[in-house]
Amino acid sequence: MQDRPTAAELVAAVREWIEHDVVPATEGRLAFHARVAANALGIVERELTADAAFTAAQRERARALLGHDGPAAELERELAARIRDGSLDGRLDEVREHVRRTVREKLAVANPGYLPDAARP
């Protein structure tokens, strides 16, 4: 267990420095990459804040779909394989609902502005 600032707080401090100090002092390729870097750190901040809950919810849904528990990544891998081999074809509505929620949870971290307001998790 680490001291404050938390990892997310450190990332935020660097992001603010890029936005307030680097972007105004640069131009061209460096300024473009500064904006990309600040955006990348914003993604990390949202992930560190929100993803544990997202992953828990995703795992719980996948467990219900697949009938057994496991690490979220393993369940997702199994789900992908079973969509491909057709063995979930009888429950595609449930599968689609799960997948849509998972993608929504990823967008809430990667680019929340991409989601229509009604679809924000």
Partner: protein, 341 residues
């Protein structure tokens, strides 16, 4: 992959082409002794270059030209010469493209490539969609794209260089294999791959020339509308509706989601103009199939770009971040599978 240019990334540093060698080729192309001025890199990655420059005649004439080349000496010349012959054939058939001026020869000492006229105009999608300068152009772009697509698809097969044939089922298999190579599960793409395999249109009886990257970002636009179609590197023979679908992929709307065609127009305008220009009647569901496949392709390409960074091939925060844009394409794909646009 040429599609990468959608990111508007700054070009990688590369040595300038030799001005004397360039002047010699340009003189041959123009038919007058010229000197070279204002040479500058336009875009491109490490292995492919695009340079703009002015060819100036002693009488004060100034001719805007573009050099497209692969600078490496050992590479086969086939790529750039295919593009040259393709542009020549498309131009002859009435497609708005930059006029090609000279194919580089080994003796030119500039690598493999060619010279073409520079077409003045804007290619950056967000400017085309938002700047006042293009306010009058935007309402006509969709119809213009329909007519241009019909012209592309009508380029006579006999005038073309050899091109690969790519149908829908083959592309689905190709991108499924590419996805598998990264080892990262994407259930949304699996749903898409199943649907795409189940709904693949049959290969067209007579494959047409398909541009392969026909979208907002590869169009040179002026206040009057589309002036040229660029970036023919992904051209192939196949289902012409592929070009119409790719033009409507949501990623190329750059935030103007409600305007299905490139962020600037409506599907009806595109299809009406396409039919009016001799492209034939196209079913919107047929377009939607290619929108779905295009969305998945762009998503898999984003993964590939992220892994270019992760593998250490090219370390870049820009490439890395693309990995997190994949979710946007998954979201769009699920919408399209549900009947959306």
């Amino acid at each position: 992959m040429q599609i990468r240019r959608a990111l508007a990334s700054a070009p990688v540093a590369a040595p300038h082409p030799d001005p004397d060698a360039l002047a010699a080729v340009a003189s041959r192309a123009i038919g007058a002794e010229v000197t070279i001025e204002a040479i500058r890199r336009l875009s491109g990655g490490a292995s492919r270059e695009t340079w703009a420059f002015d060819a100036c005649t002693p009488a004060g004439g100034r001719h805007g030209l573009v050099l497209r080349r692969d600078p490496s000496r050992h590479a086969g010349a086939s790529d750039r010469s295919t593009e040259y012959r393709l542009l020549a054939a498309a131009g002859a058939a009435g497609v708005p493209v930059p006029r090609v001026r000279a194919l580089l020869e080994p003796a030119d000492g500039l690598g493999s490539g060619f010279l073409m006229d520079r077409v003045e105009g804007e290619t950056i999608p967000r400017r085309i969609l938002r700047d006042d300068a293009f306010a009058a152009a935007r309402p006509v772009l969709a119809r213009q794209c329909g007519a241009i697509a019909a012209a592309i698809h009508a380029v006579p097969a006999g005038s073309l260089p050899p091109l690969p044939v790519q149908d829908a089922a083959g592309q689905v298999a190709q991108y499924r294999a590419l996805l598998d190579g990264f080892g990262e599960p994407h259930p949304a793409f699996e749903l898409g791959l199943r649907w795409l395999a189940d709904h693949a249109p049959p290969p067209p009886e007579r494959p047409a020339l398909v541009h392969g990257d026909f979208r907002n970002g590869n169009l040179v636009v002026g206040p009057d509308g589309v002036r040229a179609v660029l970036d023919w590197e992904l051209a192939h023979l196949g289902d012409p509706v592929e070009d119409l679908g790719w033009l409507c992929v949501r990623s190329w709307r750059f935030g103007n989601t409600a305007r299905v065609v490139g962020g600037f127009g409506d599907l009806d305008d595109l299809l009406d103009a396409y039919a009016a220009a001799g492209g034939g009647a196209v079913d919107a569901e047929h377009v939607r199939y290619w929108v779905a496949l295009g969305t998945l392709k762009w998503g898999v390409i984003c993964i590939a770009q992220a892994f270019t960074h992760l593998s250490g091939t090219v370390r870049s925060v820009e490439l890395a971040t693309l990995g997190r844009r994949v979710a946007e394409t998954e979201w769009d794909l699920l919408d399209v599978l549900d009947g959306g646009w």
